[in-house]
């Protein structure tokens, strides 16, 4: 009996690990390809591991295809992602507090509006939003990518609302008796307790903005403002069949997301399930 259980256990772990390797095979393939000579990346005889590790793809890729290097694109992505994340956290926490804890007229209406916005397909808004930003003369700047993040992001508003609803109301009431008003309750009670939810928001919104392709594609036309995702696409088109440098830059572009995941994966995974279960 004991023995059978042990064998079962081994089979289980071998299977899960093997299947896991299959799942991350595309990622491994990308990383290994970034260290290969051109001739070893594709074709029926392509080896799994590079026969000789080539590091030249990285400087070749970093140089980019035009007059700009990937230093510019990474800088742009960092600016857009950091400001966007900052805006998302501040505005979403404020709105979540209002909807979860302040009893104002029309609260139900705005909550419904928030849920509807969350479910609305972006394609309906894509063209008119573009026209608005164009009229304001802001197409070709970072503003259409960053400013909306300072106006609340329904997914995170909802997530933070769920978290705030889980905090005991007695905390607010006790603070009220101690002379706090609604503003200081937000600043001194809710915000500090919101910590885990804020970390989740930072991690998820950062990587969503970092990975965003459609936004930069619509609003950024000058290569000097390209984010990494847009630049890699252009770089791949310009490089033709020279895939090594492209895989090198693809690998680099995923590193910030991987680092976030490495340090905060618990928060990230909590965030994913938060909306679904407590609703």
């Amino acid at each position: 009996m004991e023995k059978r259980r042990a064998i079962n256990n081994v089979i289980y772990h071998v299977f899960v690990v093997a299947f896991g390797l299959l799942m991350i095979y595309p990622v491994l393939w990308m990383i290994l390809s970034s260290f290969k000579m051109k001739s070893e990346i594709l074709g029926t005889n392509a080896p799994f591991l590079p026969s000789k590790w080539v590091f030249q793809n990285y400087p070749d890729g970093w140089r980019g295809s035009g007059s700009l290097t990937f230093a510019t694109y990474f800088k742009n992505s960092i600016v857009v992602s950091c400001l966007g994340t900052l805006g998302t956290v501040i505005s979403s926490a404020m709105v979540a507090y209002a909807l979860a804890r302040v009893d104002f007229k029309g609260r139900k209406f705005w909550f419904t509006a928030m849920i509807m916005t969350m479910l609305l397909p972006g394609q309906v808004l894509m063209i008119p939003q573009y026209i608005i930003w164009n009229r304001l003369g802001l197409v070709g700047t970072f503003v259409p990518l960053i400013l909306p993040k300072f106006l609340g992001w329904p997914f995170f508003i909802y997530m933070m609302m769920q978290f705030i609803r889980g905090l005991p109301k007695e905390l607010d009431e006790a603070a009220m008796i101690d002379g706090c008003n609604k503003y200081s309750i937000f600043a001194r009670i809710i915000l500090p307790l919101l910590g885990p939810s804020i970390i989740t928001t930072i991690v998820i919104s950062f990587y969503w903005i970092w990975d965003d392709y459609m936004g930069p594609l619509l609003y950024l036309s000058k290569p000097a403002l390209y984010t990494v995702s847009l630049a890699i696409k252009g770089f791949a088109d310009a490089q033709g069949t020279n895939f090594g440098p492209m895989f090198a830059m693809s690998t680099l572009s995923l590193i910030p997301v991987f680092l976030l995941f490495l340090f905060f994966n618990r928060y990230l995974m909590d965030g994913v399930t938060a909306g679904a279960l407590k609703g």
């Binding site: 256990n9 289980y12 899960v16 896991g20 799942m23 595309p26 393939w29 990346i41 594709l42 074709g43 392509a46 505005s91 404020m94 709105v95 209002a98 909807l99 302040v102 009893d103 104002f104 705005w110 509006a113 928030m114 479910l119 397909p121 972006g122 394609q123 309906v124 808004l125 894509m126 063209i127 008119p128 939003q129 573009y130 608005i132 164009n134 106006l151 609340g152 329904p154 508003i157 609604k182 990975d211 392709y213 459609m214 995702s229 847009l230 890699i232 696409k233 791949a236 895939f243 572009s253 991987f258 995941f261 994966n265 990230l268 995974m269 994913v272 399930t273 679904a276 279960l277 609703g279």
Partner: protein, 300 residues
């Protein structure tokens, strides 16, 4: 009287209505300026001939009439529906199976879940789309494997029949969030349900269909709706991996709207398409919600 009670609580700024609207202001502004007004504009433009540089010209229902005759649009609806019908169930079944696989309590459970989540973490990125394009390309490892298995001259992206498959797989591969949601649902099923069923002689398959599925049904509904919506909107992967080809076989509706609006400058026409897309999505989710009372099961 009203003013007095407000004063007692600290004046105008401390009125609940004022506080509420101040804190909710960011969302209210964005809802009005970036959702409501754009939707109204989009509806108006859908009845117009409109290019970005010119003034909109009212043409009534002409755009919608043209849609009926537009073979490209009809095709893009069909391939999108094909993508959703094949892709979403595949992803959900896969997510549920992996979630069940990873319920076994071991010290490595957290690590395994993290590894299986990696595809979802990066799957939406341009980098992965570019990798996918080569991975399933005519000289990539997947096609090489298929060739050694005895199908010569196989090619995904040159075939109108098979080009959709790498895109569906790329979507199903990102099963991580659905998996995590299923996993936390599975954790909430009381152990004694299974024990009681086992004593009564119910096998594993029966336990799955009679206990697991019914209890998970509200979570299945949630995942189904979320995946349907994101499936209908698939854009980045299709734009980069196939750009809608070959011969429009993967010209999904979001991609078609983008091309009509921005490549061909038919903005009014593109708006009309987006409204048809919205109506179809609303109808599908509506039907699922309406019928869900028959197949979802809520513990009181």
């Amino acid at each position: 009287m009203q003013a007095e009670t407000q004063k007692q609580r600290g004046g105008f700024l401390h009125n609940d209505n004022v506080v509420g609207y101040l804190f909710a202001a960011p969302f209210i502004i964005s809802f009005l300026c970036l959702t409501l007004i754009p939707m109204a504009m989009s509806l108006y433009y859908s009845f117009c001939n409109y290019k970005i540089a010119a003034l909109p010209e009212w043409i009534g229902l002409q755009n919608y009439a043209n849609l009926m005759k537009d073979a490209t649009f009809r095709n893009s609806l069909l391939v999108t529906i094909q993508y959703v019908i094949i892709g979403v169930p595949l992803k959900l079944v896969f997510a549920l199976l992996v979630a069940m696989l990873l319920t076994r309590p071991t010290k490595l459970q957290g690590f395994y879940r993290a590894v299986y989540y990696i595809p979802s973490l990066i799957g939406g990125s341009v980098a992965v789309a570019l990798v996918w394009k080569q991975l399933f390309g005519s000289r990539g490892p997947v096609v090489s494997l298929i060739k050694t298995l005895g199908v010569p001259n196989f090619n995904f992206f040159g075939s109108t029949t098979w080009a959709f498959l790498p895109l569906v797989l790329c979507n199903a591969w990102q099963f991580g969030s659905s998996m995590l949601i299923f996993a936390s649902g599975l954790k909430q099923i009381p152990k004694d349900y299974y024990e009681a069923a086992e004593i009564d002689g119910a096998g594993a398959v029966k336990r799955f269909f009679k206990i697991t599925l019914p209890i998970l049904s509200p979570i299945i509904l949630f995942n189904l709706i979320m995946q349907l919506i994101s499936g209908f909107m698939t854009f980045t992967q299709a734009q980069i991996i196939t750009d809608g080809g070959p011969n429009y076989a993967t010209n999904y509706i979001a991609l078609n709207i983008f091309k009509e609006g921005f490549s061909y400058q038919h903005m009014g026409y593109a708006c009309a398409q987006s409204w048809v897309m919205l109506l179809i999505m609303a109808a599908v989710t509506g039907i699922i919600f309406k019928t869900s009372s028959h197949w979802t099961f809520y513990e009181s």
